[in-house]
């Protein structure tokens, strides 16, 4: 079972060197224990482009599809047997990156 752990940011600050170091330690642990699938950091919402090609001609729009105060700045995809394990890992991840996270199951 895979879960998406989204990292939620409520300000424009990038991760501090301390946060980066803690994230590295957490990532190593995920890999060592077999929970790791993938992870990445994302550019700010201002770097997003929305594409709509449902009408035959692709429309490109600058910016995120919805402007919000809080937005996703990164994510982990983890492999976990159930939500209890996923929530525990997410709690560790939140502590490591010093931000709120959201857990959602893949279907």
């Amino acid at each position: 079972m895979q879960y998406l752990v989204s990292v939620i940011n409520d300000n424009a600050n990038l991760a501090t060197p301390e946060e980066d170091a803690a994230i590295d330690v957490f990532n190593d642990r995920l890999q060592a224990k077999g929970y790791w699938v993938f992870a990445g950091g994302l550019g700010a919402p201002g770097t997003a482009t929305v594409i709509d090609n449902r009408g035959g001609e692709a429309m490109f729009t600058d910016g995120p599809f919805v402007e919000t105060k809080e937005y996703v700045v990164g994510f982990w995809i983890i492999e976990a047997p159930d939500l209890d394990v996923a929530l525990k890992l997410a709690a560790e991840g939140s502590k490591a990156c010093n931000r709120k996270v959201e857990v959602r199951p893949f279907l």
Partner: protein
Amino acid sequence: MTETGVQQAITRAHREEWARVVAALAKRFGDLDVAEEAAAEAFATAVERWPADGVPPNPGAWLTTTAHRKAIDRIRRENKRDEKHREAQMSYADDPPEPSGPIGDERLRLIFTCCHPALATEARVALTLRMLGGLTVAEIARAFLVQESAIGQRITRAKAKIKTARIPYRVPLAEDLPARVSAVLTVLFLVFNEGYLATGPGTDPVRHELTAEAIRLTRLMRTLMPTDGEVAGLLALMLLTEARRTARVSSSGELVALGEQDRGSWDAALIAEGHQLVRERLASGVAPGRYQILAAINAVHTSARDVRDTDWSQILALYDQLVRLDPSPIVALNRAIAIAELDGPQVALATLDRLEGKLAGYHAFHAARADLLRRIGLSRESRAAYDKAIELAGNTAEVASLTRRREQLG
């Protein structure tokens, strides 16, 4: 057997076996939806068949076997209807499930799943009353004065989340147990409190069916986790509160304060049972949690034959202990009420006024303040505080009692 005899047997079987049947099916099929529906169908079949066929010698086994067959029927029907989902179905066998002992009681898994912290509190409450308590959606809706469709939706959503996000069907690991037990007890206490001090206009001030259900489920929890101190504490707290139920509302529908209740009408058996639990926890020598301290406070109150015999210094000592564990303003408010009995209303009022910032929207704060102001002869200030309390109170019997007190001011 007479018709009433069969009716009683069905009611008893529902009360005693519902949770067991749902839990056994949930374990076997890994799906709460299937478990709930098959259990409901099995009980409907009992209602149909038992009057003609007689009550089976082992109603629980009959219900489990019948529910098991219903579940398999349903899964087969769905598989036929939707072949592509066949692979996604859990594996099952045709033989009935093994009976399990008290330690591996499936109902414990069911409780922890229904009270999982990833579910919204109101969903936990509805799901627990449905899955463990066997209350119908209509009954839950009535008890909480919520539209039936809203309760139905809450339960459906919760079940969907359990399935899709894979909330596990198991007893939590030892390291997580205290927090998870606490989440279960919160749900049970919430159900009890809604029955004990029902909110909303036009309802009975005390809804006995909710307090009774909460006690029944807490008793079950106690059977399943007999050594847990907080489980014992919550059960004792509920019993000692329930014991005063009939004395709490006057014939004219007013809430009667603890000090003015007819102590002779308290339920002696419930009090004895509650006191026994409190003594058991004291003898354990383990530091008590929140519910155990609250139970001990209620044990002190219910030990006094007359309100004037109340050991207030003992009560204050218990509140001091509680404040260290739970520094919430509501605990501080109740502590201040004990201070009034020991050091007088003036001292208590000073303590109370420091809580105003946090409790200005809480009716009990204004009610306590009104009472203290009345006792020191400040009628005008007391009246204003009663006004505020009446405006904020949700319980009809409490409003009636506050209104009378306000009218009695000189």
